[in-house]
C-alpha cells in the first residue's frame, strides 16, 4: 500500500512529507535505535516515541518508509528541518503506539 493511502486511512498528521508515493512494506514498532538498525526492513513504517535528531539518521540508514511519532509527541523544529533535508517522512498521531500499530497491522496484513 502506498504511504499516502496509509496516512489517509490512519488519519496521520504529516509533519514532513518525504516520498508519499512509496510503498509501505510493513510496520516496525520500537524505541531502541539499535533494534531498529538490526531488525527493521527497508520500506517499513517505524512507529516510535523517540523524536530526537538520531531518529532521522536511523530512519535514513534503514530506508524506512517513514517515522510515526505517537501519543501526540512532536519532534523539535530542528529535527524536522533535518528530516526535510534528508528526505525522511515524519508523521504524527495523537493515538498511542498500540492503537497505531494495530490499525496499521489491520491495513497491511493479508
Amino acid at each position: 500500500m502506498k504511504l499516502a493511502e496509509v496516512i489517509e486511512r490512519l488519519g496521520l498528521e504529516v509533519l514532513v512529507p518525504g516520498d508519499l508515493e512509496r510503498r509501505v512494506r510493513w510496520g516496525f514498532c520500537s524505541d531502541l535505535l539499535s533494534d531498529v538498525l538490526a531488525h527493521a526492513q527497508e520500506g517499513d513504517l517505524w512507529i516510535t516515541h523517540q523524536r530526537h535528531l538520531n531518529v532521522v539518521a536511523v530512519a535514513k540508514l534503514k530506508g524506512v518508509a517513514g517515522v510515526v511519532c505517537v501519543r501526540g509527541l512532536h519532534p523539535s523544529q530542528e529535527v524536522l528541518a533535518k528530516a526535510r533535508k534528508e528526505g525522511v517522512t515524519v508523521l504524527a498521531s495523537a493515538e498511542d503506539a498500540f492503537e497505531v500499530a494495530g490499525k496499521l497491522y489491520g491495513l497491511l496484513s493479508p
Binding site: 535505535l33 539499535s34 538520531n54 532521522v56 539518521a57 540508514l61 530506508g63 534528508e86
Partner: protein, 157 residues
C-alpha cells in the same frame, strides 16, 4: 587472507564525546561511499557499522576518531578512542549487555546491540581495548563478495 589493495580514498573524522553532532560522520561516510560508486548493499552495511561506532564513541568515551578507507575490494572503518577502555570484550559483544546510563536509555540507546550490530554488518571485525587507554576497532566490509559468499563472508575467511 587476501593481500591489501591500494587505498582509493581515505579520510579521518574526529568524533566528540557528545550526542549533539553524533550521526554526522555516518551520514557523511554514506554520502562519500555513494559518490565513489560503492555498491548500495556495502554502503548500507558500512552506514550501520559507522553509526553504531560513532554512537559508542559519543556516548561512552572521551572522544576519538573514525578513519574511512575505501579500497578496490573492501571498505574499512577504523574506530579509536581515548578511553576509558573495555575490561571484558566478550561481554560487550553479547547482545543485551549495556553500560548505558538512564538518560541514554531514555533516548533509545543502550539496547546492548551496538557492538553485535557492528559485528553482524562487517565481514571482518577486530577489536582491541585496554582499560585506561582506549579501544580500537577495525571493521572490514568486502565489496563484490555477494556472488561468491552469500553476502556475509569473503572467500577464504
Amino acid at each position: 587472507m587476501a593481500p591489501t589493495t591500494k587505498a582509493l580514498y581515505k579520510q579521518v573524522f574526529p568524533v566528540k564525546s557528545d550526542l549533539e553532532s553524533a550521526g554526522k560522520v555516518s551520514t557523511e561516510v554514506r554520502r562519500i561511499l555513494r559518490s565513489l560508486g560503492v555498491e548500495p548493499e556495502v554502503v548500507r552495511r558500512a552506514g550501520i557499522v559507522c553509526f553504531e561506532g560513532e554512537m559508542n564513541i559519543a556516548l561512552y568515551t572521551k572522544g576519538g576518531r573514525i578513519i574511512l578507507i575505501v579500497r578496490d575490494d573492501r571498505v574499512e572503518l577504523l574506530f579509536s578512542d581515548r578511553g576509558p577502555g573495555i575490561a571484558d570484550i566478550d561481554l560487550v559483544k553479547q547482545p543485551g549487555y549495556s553500560t548505558a546510563p538512564d538518560w541514554a536509555r531514555e533516548l533509545g540507546f543502550g539496547a546492548g546491540m551496538g557492538i553485535p550490530n557492528m559485528e553482524a554488518n562487517s565481514d571482518r571485525f577486530v577489536m582491541y581495548s585496554r582499560v585506561g587507554v582506549g579501544t580500537v576497532i577495525r571493521a572490514t566490509i568486502f565489496r563484490r563478495c555477494h556472488e561468491t559468499c552469500g553476502g556475509n563472508r569473503a572467500p577464504g575467511t
